[in-house]
């Protein structure tokens, strides 16, 4: 027997994805994306370490930076949770951005229409309006999907443009602040419509709402009948039908909730940050939400964490603009992250094994 062997790495199919790998994969993808970004920065004549240092410093280095990171993570969490719950049922809601805008619009309408209401009443009404605005907007693509089988990817995406342009129409037109020097924004809300803030920073009550939403969703998914239905439908619609679940009704309910969460993000942005409705209230939170949903494997707890990291990326991005780099670098990094996440998905399905590849003859 002539024994001669060498060690090689190969991929072996996993029977079930292991728990720690679902944590490791996003980490690796982010690292790979940073590496990719570093190459890009080098090629454009910047020192990547320096740039990343400025970004980290900007996002975490001061009380202000840290608080801004949290501020950015609030709408990311709410839209990320909304997208995750829809994806869980294989509903590809790409429309969180539009739902956010409609939530902002509805909440602003309340704030502008009832300036004399008491703060408690006004904020409650704005929360309700924000949720409903996003929820009804989410319901629009859900109706043709549930009853006619029309794919929701295109419809929900297209409705984004409608919602954004609707808000633009308002702030450039009928709702424009006459005292606003012709900027595309409404008059400021009455102070009763301001969300309470914490620690003397811009961190507002929206954080509590987002964290509570994550906790509630976790309970809903794993501990309630409804969450069970969502998971069964997402895994196997045939089995769900067989078990007597009403799939059409669940499509409507889940898209209502998904849109509602994005709508809340719109409400907390206008009531907590801008205090008025204006052009471009979201730099694409609703699209980042898709990345967040994938990175966090649709788990509400992970959405909170990942949103914080992406928030840091955004804040870091603002601080490198001063060093002469375009903010688009940040969008590129986000895109790279998503790319590497999808690519490294293979690691959750396969595992690297060390094997002995030998040329041994039998007998």
């Amino acid at each position: 027997m002539n024994k001669q062997s060498q060690l090689t790495l190969t991929l072996e199919k996993r029977l079930a994805p292991s728990r720690w790998i679902s944590f490791l994969v996003p980490t690796i993808s982010v690292a790979m994306a940073l590496l990719f970004g570093a190459i890009f920065l080098l090629m454009t004549g910047h020192d990547p370490l320096k740039v990343y240092e400025i970004m980290a410093e900007g996002a975490f280095g001061s009380k202000y930076g840290l608080s801004e990171t949290v501020v950015k993570s609030i709408p990311l969490m709410l839209t990320g949770l909304g997208v995750s719950i829809a994806f869980k049922m294989l509903l590809w809601n790409i429309g969180a951005e539009g739902q956010l805008y409609m939530g902002a619009f509805a909440a602003s309408w309340v704030a502008l229409s009832f300036p004399d209401a008491s703060p408690g009443f006004l904020l409650s009404a704005m929360f309700l309006a924000g949720f409903l605005g996003g929820a009804l907007w989410g319901l629009l693509p859900a109706l043709p999907r549930a009853f006619l089988g029309v794919n929701e990817v295109i419809t929900s995406l297209m409705l984004n443009y409608v919602a954004i342009l609707w808000v633009d129409y308002l702030v450039y037109g009928p709702w424009k602040d006459p005292k606003g020097f012709n900027f595309p924004l409404t008059a400021p809300f009455t102070p009763s419509a301001d969300l309470p803030t914490f620690f003397g920073t811009r961190i507002h009550l929206g954080l509590v709402v987002a964290l509570a939403a994550a906790a509630i969703l976790n309970v809903v998914l794993w501990r309630t009948r409804w969450g069970y239905e969502i998971r069964v439908i997402g895994e196997s619609p045939a089995a769900a039908r067989y078990a007597g679940m009403n799939i059409a009704r669940n499509i409507l309910l889940v898209m209502f909730l998904s849109g509602g969460l994005a709508g809340l993000a719109g409400m907390t942005e206008v009531a907590g940050i801008t205090h008025r409705l204006q052009h471009g209230i979201s730099p694409g939170y609703g699209y980042s939400a898709i990345i967040i949903a994938w990175l966090s494997k649709l788990s509400p707890g992970a959405v909170v964490l990942v949103s914080f990291l992406l928030g840091a990326l955004l804040v870091g991005g603002y601080s490198i603009q001063s060093s002469g780099l375009p903010a688009a670098t940040v969008s590129m990094l986000q895109g790279a992250i998503l790319f590497f996440v999808l690519g490294s998905e293979i690691l959750t399905k396969y595992r690297l094994v060390l094997v002995r590849r030998g040329e041994r003859r039998a007998n």
């Binding site: 190969t10 072996e12 199919k13 029977l15 079930a16 501990r223 309630t224 009948r225 409804w226 969450g227 069970y228 998971r231 069964v232 895994e235 196997s236 045939a238 089995a239 039908r241 067989y242 078990a243 007597g244 679940m245 009403n246 094994v353 094997v355 002995r356 590849r357 030998g358 041994r360 003859r361 039998a362 007998n363």
Partner: protein, 509 residues
């Protein structure tokens, strides 16, 4: 043939999964020119052993020798390179592609330009020479299950497989298709291939195999020549004990009408008439068997009764209540259980655990539900009870059910459906792919339910099973009931004629 060298040999293969040792020092060898049957109860480790031979799993220990050389298999590609090909029970074809396109799918050569007419010619010639009738140009979705299986075989032959493994190939075939498959297998063996064939049906083994290897509980019990054995002794090797005589049908008292169909019409998935005026009744404590070549409306019949398929005309009554075109939920609530043909995907959710599959129909009712909440402790207790009472072998309750063996899957499904104490059980091919012991268990369970007073609608393509269990036999042909006979009077030939569409005059439904 005795002196033929082994084409493939597996030595002392051991493979463990969390909680089970699926293969325990199993040795197995197949020679060129033979048909080698692999027998064993559900969960004996047959599929695992063959998955190791096709590079899907890596053995913990042991070695594989092909044509005298020890080889390492890291993937099904490696296996094919070594001339090992497998036809799985669940086909891996792409429905919108043509037969020829499916055959070359995943091949490295040709690298750039596809000369489809050339390939089609090669495919046609290959299928011709093995008696695998199939048109290379036709799209796969248009093919019957039997034809799709032929495509899978051609695919493997095209890749130059000399060792061909078929995992329960006959479970999905009609008797006619089974005969044709056996002719093909013979021809392949005649051409010097080694054919390895997994089955649970002893009469098939006696019909087609040259040698038989029996696995039990992950170990090899031995390899025997067909001529030196008989079904009884094979059964003993598989089970390790005498098989008790089959349970006999008992005539219980018949009760009220449970199921009544009046001239029901329904469409198939393709929008063609699948049921053309079916009328039948089943009373409490009665088992009605539906015989017929599959594809004659049986699937649609089961779906109509369980509310999964709309009725175009006619009426459906359950316990006298008109439930025509009511939702599956209302029909479940009326006491109808359903063991569907598609166990993994419809009856069970592959990626969810045992516990979450157990509560699939009960999650709306207490004690599993408490208001809007699910009581996980109650669900756990329920699952533990079912797993114990119905002897489902599972390592732990969160194990995704796709990892259970075929027999255990069916046990779990039946356990859930029967434990609801239904008034009507619709059972579609309930013993497909099950071993003798599990088949016996399922039959016993159905007969117990009948004795308890349930009405049972049994759909099967196995005439012996139907005659054995049914009180009455209804024969379906092209969406119509050709005739209903009391099974005590029914003779095989008569049913055979009805199955072929020769209608009997004046029968009573």
């Amino acid at each position: 043939m005795k002196d033929e060298p082994n084409l493939v040999e597996m030595r002392d293969i051991t493979k463990g999964f969390p909680g089970v040792l699926a293969n325990d020092r199993v040795s197995f060898a197949a020679r060129a020119g033979e048909i080698h049957a692999l027998l064993g109860e559900n969960g004996a480790g047959k599929s695992t052993l063959m998955s190791i031979l096709t590079g899907l799993y890596r053995p913990d220990e042991g070695e594989i020798i092909v044509a005298g050389r020890r080889i390492e298999l890291h993937s099904p590609r490696d296996a094919i390179r070594n001339g090992i090909g497998m036809v799985y029970q669940h086909f891996r074809l792409i429905p919108p592609f043509s037969v020829a396109e499916n055959v070359i799918l995943g091949l490295d050569a040709p690298r750039f330009l596809l000369n489809m007419p050339e390939i089609e010619k090669k495919v046609a010639a290959l299928s011709e020479s093995y008696g695998l009738r199939v048109d290379p140009k036709v799209k796969v979705w248009q093919l019957s299950v039997g034809e799709q299986q032929r495509v899978e075989i051609v695919k493997m032959l095209y890749r130059g497989a000399r060792i061909l493994i078929l995992d329960e190939p006959t479970a999905v075939l009609t008797p006619q298709e089974t005969r044709e498959l056996f002719l093909t297998l013979r021809r392949m063996a005649g051409n010097g291939h080694a054919v390895i064939f997994i089955t649970h049906k002893l009469h098939e083994v006696m019909e087609v195999a040259d040698r038989i290897t029996v696995l039990r509980g992950g170990r090899s019990v031995g390899t025997v020549e067909k001529k030196d054995t008989n079904p009884a002794s094979l059964a003993r090797m598989m089970v390790g004990r005498e098989i008790p005589p089959a349970p006999s049908r008992s005539e219980g008292p018949r009760g009220e009408k449970i199921l009544e169909l009046q001239a029901v019409q329904a469409m198939s998935d393709k929008g063609l008439p699948a049921l053309r005026g079916v009328s039948l009744t089943i009373r409490a404590g009665e088992l009605l068997g539906i015989a017929g070549v599959s594809g004659n409306g049986q699937k649609e019949l089961a779906e109509v009764v369980t509310g999964l398929r709309p009725v175009q005309a006619g009426r459906l009554y359950i316990k006298g209540k008109d439930l025509t075109n009511r939702s599956p939920k209302e029909i479940i609530e009326a006491g109808v259980s359903h063991v569907p043909e598609d166990r993994l995907g419809t009856g069970l959710i592959p990626n969810l655990g045992v516990l979450e599959n157990v509560i699939l129909k009960e999650y709306r009712r207490p004690p599993i539900s408490r208001g809007p909440l699910l009581d996980r402790r109650a669900a756990r207790e329920r699952s533990e009870d079912l797993v114990r009472d119905f002897q489902v072998k599972v390592a732990y309750l969160d194990l995704p059910v796709k990892l259970l063996s075929g027999g255990n899957l069916q046990r779990l499904l039946l356990a859930r459906e029967i434990s609801a104490a239904p008034s009507l059980i619709v059972a579609v091919y309930p013993v497909r792919g099950l071993d003798i012991g599990a088949t016996e268990t399922v039959h016993n369970l159905l007969l117990q339910q009948k004795a308890r007073g349930a009405a049972i609608l049994l759909i099967s393509e196995d005439l012996e099973e139907i005659l054995h269990l049914s009180d009455r036999v209804a024969v379906m042909y092209e969406g119509e009931i050709q005739g209903v006979l009391p099974s005590s009077e029914a003779r095989l030939e008569e049913i055979g004629l009805l199955m072929a569409g020769m209608k009997k005059e004046a029968t009573t439904a």
